[in-house]
């Protein structure tokens, strides 16, 4: 590079950097909003993964409602993207400075652990929402869905609906590049609900590939395939296509979440197999409820993100006013915010909710 060109290039680089810094500063400033807490009000900080996912937007809305009811001053912050721990760490520091009584957080990664420990030392009560941090003891308590129970409801419904027929099962998991608890819990829960031994407590795909299932009327089963979907529509579709090629007589599909289930259904539609295959999903969004009503999903196990957030606000408010600390649900190491199975029509032997009930409690908007 010629010498006299260097200043111009440096100038351009400086301009680009300034814009980039300005953009991120604007981003993080926009990410945290809220009122300053007066000394008499209980202050709570809600720190979410992002505000671009309707799952977390629901948490924000319900937390605000609970804060208004409890007379709590709520400050909401969120990362600019899934994985943005820096904004979350700043928000935690802000909560400590403000003198908040508690933090509700859906963590973006382990980088926030040090800041959360500082918050606990400063006397704040830390509640993790939706997923336990690693290690779980970083938070004072976690409010989450019992993912194993959610999977189990789907499995029980699948077994009951089969009525003794042979089950040819496609297991559509989340990842093949990392191991996350939600992937294992839902997969194993489904198998247990069907009465099949998962073969491991820490890994997927360890179950016996054929044998007998004991759920419902019982019968023989075959695991036709086990494929990752990345939890997205295209991944679900590719996985289902490969599974159908491997075994065209699949009649039961377990999907890790609704987008994967939607992709699987698209593959079934293209193959003309929608009447002979039942798809079981987990999530409980309002679009998912429509899919249950239309017959796309045989059942959908729902989550209550709004409940996680509003219960969190209630717990901190209670604690600040001298009440007792929340405790974990019996037999679990977290507080279970509950799950339910929504089906278009009742399934014998399984407790289910109607689509109308599901719509009353669903999260996100319909589209």
């Amino acid at each position: 590079m010629k010498f006299h060109q260097a200043p111009r290039t440096l100038l351009a680089l400086a301009a680009v950097s300034a814009v980039a810094f300005g953009a991120t500063a604007c981003g993080s400033a926009a990410g945290s909003s809220g009122s300053s807490s007066s000394s008499s009000e209980v202050g709570v900080a809600l720190i979410l993964k992002t505000l671009s996912n309707p799952y977390f937007v629901t948490m924000e809305q319900d937390a605000k409602a609970a804060a208004a009811k409890d007379g709590v001053s709520l400050t909401v912050a969120a990362g600019t993207s899934d994985g943005d721990t820096q904004t979350q760490i700043s928000a935690i520091d802000d909560a400590i400075s403000r003198g908040d009584k508690g933090i509700l957080i859906t963590t973006n990664g382990n980088a926030v652990n040090a800041a959360l420990n500082q918050a606990k030392q400063a006397g704040l009560y830390v509640i993790a929402l939706d997923t336990a941090p690693t290690p779980a003891s970083i938070a004072d308590i976690t409010y989450a869905t019992d993912n194993t129970a959610a999977g189990k409801l789907d499995g029980e419904a699948a077994a009951a609906t089969l009525g003794g027929k042979k089950a040819v099962i496609a297991m559509l998991d989340l990842y093949n590049t990392q191991v996350v608890s939600v992937d294992i819990d839902r997969d194993h829960g489904f198998l247990q609900g069907m009465g099949i031994n998962p073969g491991s407590t820490t890994e997927n795909s360890q179950e016996a590939k054929s044998g007998s299932y004991t759920g419902g009327a019982g019968g023989s089963y075959q695991i036709a395939c086990q494929q990752p979907t990345q939890g997205a529509i295209d991944g679900g579709r590719t996985a289902m296509e490969d599974c159908l090629s491997a075994n065209p007589s699949i009649n039961v599909v377990y999907a890790i979440n609704e987008p994967a289930a939607e992709g699987a259904y698209a593959a079934l539609q293209a193959a003309g197999k929608t009447s002979s295959v039942k798809v079981y999903a987990i999530d409980g969004s309002c679009t998912g409820m429509q899919d249950v009503a239309s017959g796309e999903f045989a059942a959908d196990a729902v989550q209550y993100p709004g409940k996680m957030a509003s219960l969190g606000v209630d717990s901190i408010a209670k604690l600040a006013k001298g009440g007792s600390k929340p405790s974990v649900s019996s037999g679990l190491d977290f507080y279970d915010t509950g799950t339910a199975l929504v089906t278009a029509s009742p399934v014998s032997g399984v407790s289910t909710e109607t689509v109308a009930q599901g719509k009353a409690g669903c999260w996100g908007s319909t589209n």
């Binding site: 351009a12 093949n176 590049t177 494929q227 529509i233 590719t238 090629s245």
Partner: protein, 347 residues
């Protein structure tokens, strides 16, 4: 024999193999020269061997239904790889190509679904956004002279964030008759079910391959990637050629976005997240050199097919899905090693 050294060039009426024989090349050397002249041969060989092996493991692999599915599954990354090839040929790399595709596909779907814009206008808007995004990449590379890897690493984050902010996590499901989903509709050729998305991908390859091979622009692109200084001295406006590679890639991205809409039934901000790396993988396995200036476009199509064949074949073989990831990694290392070996060809 005369005392002078043998002529290093072809004598009249002599074939390349005669030349090789005269110069005492070993079979390995001759293979090296052959691959240097025809870079698409090694991925073609790998593809054929893979198809044979997977068919032996599970006869279902070879069925028309399954092979049609493999083609459909490769359509998005296969078409995206056209744009990536153009940029890699200039000795660059585009880490943001998938992120721009997802943004464009979401924009088109949202305009049709929420704002009731007509499908052609929505596609036009998506094209404008894709080309503009690539213009940002191209200008940062040519004017501000930043390395493409760093530029696209940054813009990848920018475009991913823009998509998340615009999408708010929603997925969009369009009516099955929508023009945006035309790429997902299919027809039968014999027993093979072909989607219009696959057809569009093939047309894209034909058009761009023609441009690369038979137009001055294509020649200039290869020259700029092979040796920018020599190209500049030969009178080629290398900055303009570089920028044009990015802009044409923008057009390609718009086509890929349309194919993605058809595959996903609308738009999903979480689908296609790995397309950035997958397109690079297809280009590398296809034999295009990361150092620029060498490679054939059809190689990228073969590369995309190879990855999908391995994914599908391993799934049908009932192998643990982690091995799919392992297999792709091994393929990439093999492809780059073969590329290095070919580069060492001596006259």
């Amino acid at each position: 024999m005369t005392a002078s050294a043998p002529s290093p060039v072809l004598e009249p009426a002599e074939t390349v193999s005669d030349l090789s024989a005269r110069r005492g090349h070993s079979p390995a050397n001759r293979l090296q020269h052959l691959l240097h002249r025809r870079p698409a041969l090694s991925p073609l060989a790998v593809l054929l061997i893979a198809v044979v092996i997977f068919s032996l493991v599970n006869a279902r692999f070879y069925s028309a239904v399954n092979l049609s599915l493999v083609a459909q599954q490769s359509a998005v990354v296969g078409s995206l790889a056209v744009g990536q090839t153009l940029i890699v040929l200039t000795a660059g790399i585009d880490l943001s190509i998938g992120a721009i595709m997802v943004l464009a596909s979401f924009l088109a779907a949202n305009l049709v679904f929420t704002d009731n814009v007509s499908v052609p206008l929505a596609l036009l808007a998506a094209t404008v956004v894709a080309v503009a995004a690539q213009a940002v990449n191209g200008l940062l590379v040519t004017r501000v002279k930043l390395p493409p890897f760093i530029v696209t690493l940054g813009t990848f984050n920018v475009f991913t964030a823009l998509t998340l902010i615009y999408a708010k996590g929603q997925t969009i499901t369009l009516n099955t008759g929508s023009g945006l989903l035309w790429t997902g509709q299919s027809f039968l050729i014999g027993n093979f079910r072909v989607t219009y998305g696959v057809v569009l991908m093939v047309v894209l390859y034909l058009v761009v391959a023609y441009a690369l091979r038979c137009t001055a622009w294509g020649r200039h692109l290869y020259a700029t990637g092979d040796d920018p200084e020599a190209a500049r001295l030969a009178g080629i406006d290398t900055k303009r050629v570089l920028l044009s590679a990015y802009l044409v890639a923008g057009l390609v991205i718009a086509v890929s976005a349309w194919i993605l809409c058809g595959r996903v039934g609308g738009a999903d901000p979480n689908s296609g997240l790995n397309a950035n790396l997958e397109s690079i993988t297809a280009v590398v396995i296809g034999g295009t050199s990361l150092f620029g200036g060498r490679g054939s476009l059809v190689g990228s199509l073969l590369g995309a097919l190879i990855v999908q064949v391995f994914d599908n074949g391993l799934a049908l073989a009932g192998v643990d899905p982690n091995y799919q990831v392992l297999a792709v990694g091994v393929l990439v290392i093999l492809a780059v090693s073969v590329d290095q070996w070919i580069r060492k060809v001596k006259a």
